[in-house]
Symmetry: C2
Subunit: 428 residues, 2 copies
């Protein structure tokens, strides 16, 4: 994948993307027709090689870390960039989980016969060539490569430039394992330049890339959504709600809200707004608020909520629109189910919402009426994750309604087609 | 839906689209939660009202036809615009077929439990607000309105201006039936202006329209694909192939090819290129060519094919890229299965391809290896149609790989979401 220096220097970024996408397409034709056992063997080899190459991976990572320290990057960026023994083991077990899942390709999704005599079958197929644009998190290289490989898609990876050495080593490791089982190395490729123009070229490569997956913050995702001339799997933000109803169990309301907000505040499934029925605000809110305040969470409430919990700051209209990704929660007293649904319908980003209630009718109505990718009852919104959904890993959460919605695992990286078997039928 | 003239004159096109999309969104919230029986009652009333309003419909259509004659529109345009007793009856039976299909909403697509205890279910939901942009074919008003209604989606219709009176009457008829069963009239709306700026506004209405379906010729579809800032279900063209193999039945090869090309030459499922194995070209091609020539089809072949059938014109490289939509067929001799697949992979538009063979291994390989929305064996490509697929009707054929692929019927106008039932689970 690495070009001799003299060649690479003479190629424009456009030429490089042209070559990568063309090689990816050829590789995908082979990968998309490969047996599930070949793809699983490659995945198991990758897990094994990650474990046996721990020292090498940490050396490459050390190069990136030392550059990052020289550039005085933020501690949070350096934390994401860092690979240690635990994180390397987690990459390996993640790949094994993907290997162990059933084949997402060639699944018969539906089958029927029509009066003309034709037998029609809907069968899952790979999407084709997938471009993944992500920040300087080397583990995404492995997650993305493994999910694409499992689902018969060719991957073109573009990680943040600060993780260049780690990502390159991991990509080459994946390619060696592909080759070892007789699959094309070019099924997983990394863009061999840190020129930012490469991202633009990728986003414009209509007809050569089947879908782009941006994995990163809001600025990356909005850039991709704005500039892409190819389909995108993404969500811009996760303004997730918890709605505590009149019949909620008090301990559950407190524990689930605390977990949904504070387990990790920086992930898209973190709760940003708590809605609580007026009739139980006096009895339930003080205890929920204490638990959050004690955990270091800032609370921003409407007037009524502030009267119950004076330690709250005042919420403005903007708060209901805000994905804090931080230890801040907005709180609103609502006038029952309709009012809560109406707030969610106006302010939700369509990612994940959860109702806390013992009333099974309200559970059914909430699950039916809230039109978000993931709608929960009596559980923490932080479960919005492909791993927690049993998908092995995820490329992210999609909020688009066409096809992939919710966690994007290997099965979500497939399309389908209609196979039709006839007996010489001609149409009247 | 019709505004008083003074109001309409003072509203900009942007204001009109803003109001239509906002009313559509409100109506969809009701329609998406309505019972299947309510939606079916509305559909059955529509079929009944179409039959009982035949004279009125023909009067409105007469206004359009008389304007069309004044404007000296092409005979083919006038033919599509014309409604007669048979065509009106066909609209009614089409709506009844849609009513009789099962509910595409709320279907449990998958259900599983994960180790944390959460019960997860994937459930079909409506897409939301669908914009349909079509030519002056009044029957599309009814097909599109009925499919959207069945699938719980609000429809914003924009038919060609030459069918304005017919489409408006049919839209009002649909709205009356919605109201009669207690559903919102604004669930199906027509854009009340023929200003072309309305189409641009619709295509830019990101966040207000969930998907746009263009239904018409290549110029309309490419305009929509280029300008749309919202997702689009579409196919640009149907360059469909028939591949006749060495083991094809001679009569079947002739009959299926003739039907695939000549039954109707102007539809997207019409065959445009015939590939035939070299080993049977001498024995099978003359008879296939005679049948086509006799039916008035022009043949354009490669050198080898022309040596076998001298009446053929010479095919150029451009022919393999061309959707004729006319009585013209390009013909190429291929060197077996791999060569045929390679030609299809290079020149197909991903719509529909068919293999004619008695060899079941080749059938399986063709169905598996050709990555088009519809892949057939031993049947005419003209079966690529929602009605023939048993979907009642279709909004068109989609070649995008995300979600809807192939005929877009009511079920294809749905999305899904994950419903998750928990018991107070918080995430570790």
């Amino acid at each position: 994948m690495r070009l001799p220096n003299n060649t690479e220097n003479s190629l424009s970024v456009g030429d490089i993307i042209e070559r990568l996408t063309s090689e990816a397409k050829q590789a995908q034709l082979v990968l998309g027709q490969s047996s599930h056992s070949a793809r699983c063997s490659a995945l198991k080899k990758i897990a094994e090689r990650i474990r046996t190459s721990r020292e090498q991976i940490m050396d490459a990572n050390q190069q990136d870390l030392s550059n990052a320290n020289d550039k005085q990057l933020a501690a949070s960026v350096i934390d994401r960039l860092t690979l240690n023994a635990d994180r390397i083991e987690a990459m390996a077990t993640g790949v094994e989980a993907i290997a162990d899942m059933s084949d997402p390709l060639g699944k018969s999704l539906a089958k029927w016969e029509v009066p003309s005599g034709l037998e029609i079958e809907r069968v899952s197929t790979a999407l084709g060539v997938i471009g993944i644009i992500y920040e300087s998190r080397p583990n995404v290289t492995v997650d993305a490569g493994a999910l694409c490989l499992k689902s018969g898609n060719a991957a073109i990876l573009r990680g943040g430039s600060d993780s260049f050495h780690s990502s390159l080593l991991l990509t080459e490791l994946i390619q060696d394992c592909l080759e070892a089982v007789g699959l094309p190395r070019t099924a997983v490729q990394m863009i061999p330049t840190s020129d930012r123009q490469a991202v633009n070229e990728l986003l414009q490569a209509a007809g050569k890339i089947d879908v782009i997956v941006p994995r990163g913050g809001k600025s990356l995702v909005s850039l991709v959504q704005e500039k892409a001339r190819v389909p995108v799997f993404a969500h811009l933000e996760g303004i997730c709600h918890i709605y505590v109803t009149q019949s909620a169990d008090a301990d559950m309301a407190r524990d689930v809200t605390l977990n949904a907000k504070m387990r990790r505040t920086g992930i898209c499934g973190a709760c940003e707004t708590l809605l609580i029925d007026r009739s139980v605000a006096h009895s339930l809110l003080p205890e929920i608020a204490s638990a959050l305040l004690e955990a270091g969470c800032e609370l921003r409430g409407d007037e009524e909520a502030r009267q119950i919990v004076p330690a709250m700051h005042k919420a403005s209209e903007e708060d209901w629109h805000t994905e804090y990704l931080d230890a801040i929660l907005s709180i609103k007293i609502v006038d029952g189910f309709e009012d809560a649904i109406s707030h969610i319908s106006n302010y939700s980003s369509g990612h994940t919402e959860s109702i806390i209630t013992q009333d099974s009718d309200l559970i059914n109505r909430f699950l039916s009426e809230v039109d978000s990718a993931i709608v929960m009852a009596n559980a923490s919104t932080q479960f919005a994750d492909g791993g927690e959904f049993g998908m092995g890993a995820e490329l992210g959460i999609a909020t688009g309604k066409l096809h992939a919605r919710g966690p994007v695992g290997a099965e979500q990286l497939t399309s389908f087609k209609y196979n039709v078997r006839g007996h010489g039928e001609t149409r009247k």
